[in-house]
Symmetry: C2
Subunit: 302 residues, 2 copies
């Protein structure tokens, strides 16, 4: 069962204490696609300018990513983001955001995409996320990511969207903001009472917490000695989680395993700049890392 | 097998968004003792003034806590701490610290304490921790807590002490400080290379990470909707962990279970002010909470 991803496709310039890349491929749809394609065929909806490197498109296709829904704007410039991470690699500042072709993006699904059963609405304007969802015939699983900006300026659209999804992904600060509570747990419970079945709170180096109908699941992130570039880790996590779920029953047990898979993939993402580590990841190494993440959480009866 | 605890015994005045207590019993040795006494007999070394309520001593004794090593200073004033927690209950400020009788504290172990095999050196001056350890005949298990202050002003004593212990407990900021690295993982690995066998990094609402000879263990904290007062949670965690290990083999599996026990006890600690919730905790409720913490971490093969 394949996965539809709508999100940003970007050229990122990133400085970290461990180096720098300029105009390297990035964006939520790209990170999500590289991760999800480990488990399932992926179809991307998005937009790039004609400055977007053809080799990056070939690389995505080689991973089983369908780009029929990728709009290429002639004489357009691809969305660009620049950021700098500090010595504490969990802290960053945005240096610039150039929307470029993304500012007029109106996602339009090719016919072949409309019956894709699984949908990842990566972090973009909730009105666009709603647009995409309207074009999907019968979604089986819809996961939505969002951010503080949309909670702030597009809350009504976001709340409308949240009624139609199976799982909301956001970070802890955003969960507190959307759930109107300084307590993460209260915020998550409030959001669940508003009808969101499942909330996965991403906490970066602290892992994630899933609040679902069968209770809470807490998964630590894998402690890594060498984090080079955290960009895209959250989207990689989401892509891995969703990809894992595509061919499987949506049981609590599988959601938990999906989080382990996402955690493992995210741990590779941050080991190098851009999508470098993700694209040269072999299946055995991924399987071993999944085992490692799981082993880190194993405990017997007390 | 019993447990020796050296640490502070305090009267705390605590404001949180959910209320206030004045001169309520607290201190690392007290929280640690209430938690550990769930699993093992506890002996405290510490000091109080004659203003310390007799009923609090009776309450500790009822829980199986031996107070022969408790010094009572006539006309002395007990150590006092005042603090305020903010709306984000993970943030606090210290309003005052009055050392009082604690400023001249020179821990002296009664003969009956010298052969106690398990030792919890709660967070006090590392020179005092060393003093206590010298008086113990043949320790089987020594766990040491510390804080930024001692890392800052008593680093040589602390490093001397760390050669003699089995496990160091500290928070993530302190681990980064002591291990001289912005990366928690690098810092922990560096500390292990310096000869500390096991490091348990306490991360408050994010749980803890244990770096040991058999790898890493990550345990989330139980997400709680109602945190009234986080004071003493770390000491309660430590006491529960150590108490659990006292009668058991020091295997990786048991260290992990001990962390679950500590996590469960800490989750009760924060549900009410001071030691209120801990002292009226029945064994069945504790067992259920341990199961709950463990269930939160369960995941199958990916």
């Amino acid at each position: 069962m394949s996965l539809l991803i709508v999100g940003s496709i970007a050229l990122d310039t990133v400085h970290t204490p461990y180096g720098k890349v300029e105009d390297a491929v990035g964006g939520s749809a790209v990170y999500g696609a590289y991760a999800a394609s480990r488990f399932t065929p992926v179809s991307i909806v998005g937009v790039v300018g004609d400055d977007f490197p053809a080799r990056e498109l070939r690389s995505l296709r080689r991973c089983g990513v369908d780009l029929e829904g990728l709009e290429r704007v002639k004489k357009g410039k691809t969305f660009r983001w620049g950021g700098r991470y500090f010595e504490d690699i969990n802290q960053r500042e945005t240096l610039y955001t150039e929307l470029n072709v993304f500012s007029d993006f109106a996602p339009k699904l090719p016919d072949s995409y409309r019956r894709i059963p699984n949908v990842f609405l990566a972090n973009i304007d909730p009105d666009l996320q709603l647009d995409v969802l309207r074009q999907v015939a019968k979604p089986r699983l819809v996961v939505c990511d969002t951010m503080n900006l949309w909670i702030d300026i597009k809350r009504p659209s976001l709340l409308r969207l949240l009624k139609k999804i199976d799982c909301l992904l956001l970070n802890d600060e955003e969960a507190r903001m959307l759930g109107d509570s300084a307590s993460l747990t209260r915020a998550a419970l409030k959001l669940r009472r508003r009808g969101i079945e499942r909330i996965v709170v991403k906490k970066g180096e602290h892992g994630c917490t899933m609040f679902g109908p069968e209770g809470v699941f807490g998964a630590p992130a894998l402690p890594l000695a060498a984090v080079k570039d955290p960009t895209g880790a959250g989207d990689t996590f989401a892509g891995g989680m969703l990809g894992y779920l595509c061919g499987r029953a949506l049981s609590e047990a599988n959601w938990r395993k999906a989080i382990v898979a996402g955690t493992a993939l995210a741990s590779f993402c941050v080991e190098d700049f851009s999508t470098r580590r993700l694209r040269r990841l072999d299946p055995k190494t991924l399987a071993r890392r999944c085992d490692e993440v799981r082993a880190m959480m194993q405990v017997g009866n007390v």
